[in-house]
Amino acid sequence: MNADEIRQVLLDILSRIVPDEDLSALQDDVPFREQIELDSMDFLDIVMELRKQYRIQIPEEDYANMNTMGGAVNYLTPLMKGVSAPA
């Protein structure tokens, strides 16, 4: 998966976790929590959905990398290189 595909995967996951949020204007370098209502339980769901859907294990010490869209895409790019994009 390339960066754009990973971004789309994250948007799909977010849209299921916070269906009432408008994600179209999400900025890359601003923490998710400053742009949408995302509590710690929701945040962990992003991690768990990635594990469920793509078998990506994200250790707790790396969670800080996932606070922004840009950071998450950068962090996930090497991890998801060999994973194919959803149909």
């Binding site: 916070v18 339980m41 768990m48």
Partner: protein, 464 residues
């Protein structure tokens, strides 16, 4: 068969936990002793009518589009949409004490203006109290010994107002007599006064049906008439359960919504020193409830309120009564008085009163039936100062008692709000057995589901 997680009890907390675990691909089985789901919030059918046990109203109600708060968090965690629970807001409620009456609804400002009008000398203190409570981090126990009354007395000097504010909150969630744990109070204040009441037109069965449907779609297993006889352990860990039938089921972990004492009793000889006596005690506070079906809507009789909490004495007494029922106080609930798109087909008025569990548990069968009939009448009569006389409109009536509650929940004593001391951590003396539901700490329909979710997240999903 071996499961990742076994869940004891198909009530709201167990089913919500089951959805989380099944969603994240665990093999999970919910075991329920009773013939139907729901536990404390269940339902039964009698003479061709549906009766709810439990649910008067869903507390923690916030309108569609609200992005914060327990209801919103719950919906997101279970991937439900707001519309799935079909919640209709209340029409308005009231706390009725001798000489004073406070109305409240899902807009906190109504309560503020009522306090200002009826207790003008207290309004500044009430505003400060509200602010103090709003600043609390809900669900975080700072001091488990701290109770509500000392905090209320810091802000309010009129004992009548203190009792009137406590009355609905104690009735809807206090497992302890006369005062309640401060953390629990702060949660209840928020969920009842700041957020509010709502109800699905179809009652609790709509919510339960949505939970079961989702749980099964995700591959979760649900077994009714599958009571757990014992939890089998090997050293510090549980290895599975044995059912009443003798069947053994193995699992990596167990989430139990059976209650703390009840769960410990299932364990093979729990070391008695591990659980402090006060923590293990089962609750004493319980209720009876009369359910009257009417030939008309309560509004036709001039009764428009959703819930009336009353006390016929200025000092509200919330305790296990000496008599079978306490006639001095009660809750009058009309399931009709919510803002539904169309009215319910039949009118109903339910009246809840504090009850003495021992009296109700010890009656012989004949005495029990007679006591139900006689106390039903006395409870109705005692409530008549707070609701129009609906007796001529009654077409059918039933009453549930601590005995009914025990049958549905398996709770020792048939108590409603569980153990006096909550087990917020949800852990037990066994490494992989956890408590969720009433005894873990969160109450109400939304609270109990969040309890299941929280415990599942914490101990079954994040564990390495």
């Amino acid at each position: 068969m071996r499961y990742d997680t076994l869940i004891i009890g198909a009530g709201l907390s167990g089913l919500a936990a089951g959805i989380r675990l099944a969603h994240f691909e665990q093999s999970v089985c919910v075991l329920e002793r009773h013939t139907t789901i729901g536990g404390l919030n269940s339902f039964y059918r009698l003479r061709n009518r549906n009766y709810d046990v439990g649910l008067h109203a869903v507390t923690n109600f916030t309108p569609k589009g609200t992005k914060t708060g327990p209801l919103s968090r719950l919906l997101r965690q279970l991937r439900f949409s707001w519309d799935d629970f079909q919640l209709a807001p209340q029409t308005g409620s009231r706390v009725d004490f001798p000489g004073k009456s406070l109305k409240f609804n899902n807009d906190f400002e109504l309560l503020v203006s009522q306090v200002a009008a009826q207790f003008p000398a207290q309004i500044d203190g009430f505003r400060k109290l509200s602010q103090y409570l709003a600043d609390q981090e809900l669900g975080v126990v700072v001091d488990p010994q701290l109770t509500a009354r000392p905090v209320l007395n810091r802000f309010l000097s009129d004992p009548l107002l203190v009792d009137m504010l406590l009355c609905p909150l104690m009735f809807y969630g206090s497992p302890t007599p006369d005062d309640m744990e401060f953390t629990q109070f702060a949660i209840m204040f928020h969920s009842i006064y700041r957020e509010g009441f709502a109800r699905p037109r179809e009652g609790v069965r709509l919510i339960l049906r949505q939970l079961v449907k989702r749980y099964k779609e995700l591959g979760g297993e649900l077994r009714l008439r599958a009571g757990v006889k014992s939890i089998v352990s090997d050293g510090p860990r549980a290895v599975g359960v044995v059912l009443d039938s003798g069947e053994m089921i193995e699992a990596d972990r167990i989430l139990s919504s059976a209650g703390l004492v009840e769960t410990l009793r299932l364990c093979e000889a729990p070391p008695p020193t591990v659980i402090p006596a006060n923590l293990a005690a089962a609750g004493e506070i319980t209720f009876v409830e009369t359910i009257n079906t009417l030939s008309c809507q309560p509004a036709d009789l001039g009764h428009h309120e959703t819930i009336v909490f009353y006390s016929n004495t200025p000092a509200f007494r919330y305790a296990n009564p000496a008599a079978p029922c306490d006639l001095d106080s009660g809750i009058i609930c009309s399931p009709n008085n919510f803002q539904y798109d169309e009215p319910l087909l039949e009118g109903a008025i339910r009246i809840t009163a504090l009850a003495n569990k021992d009296c109700w548990m010890n009656y012989g069968e004949d005495e029990y039936a007679a006591a139900k009939e006689s106390w039903n009448e006395r409870i109705t009569t005692a409530a008549l100062g707070h609701v129009p006389d609906f007796r001529p409109a009654i077409v059918d009536s039933d009453m549930f008692t601590p005995r009914t509650i025990k049958k549905f929940t398996g709770h020792v004593n048939g108590c409603v709000y569980g153990a006096p001391r909550k087990n917020w951590e949800g852990t037990t003396h066994l490494d992989n057995v956890y408590i969720c539901g009433t005894d873990q700490g969160f109450l109400g329909i939304i609270g109990s589901m969040l309890s299941g979710i929280g415990i599942a997240n914490r101990y079954a999903l994040r564990a390495p």
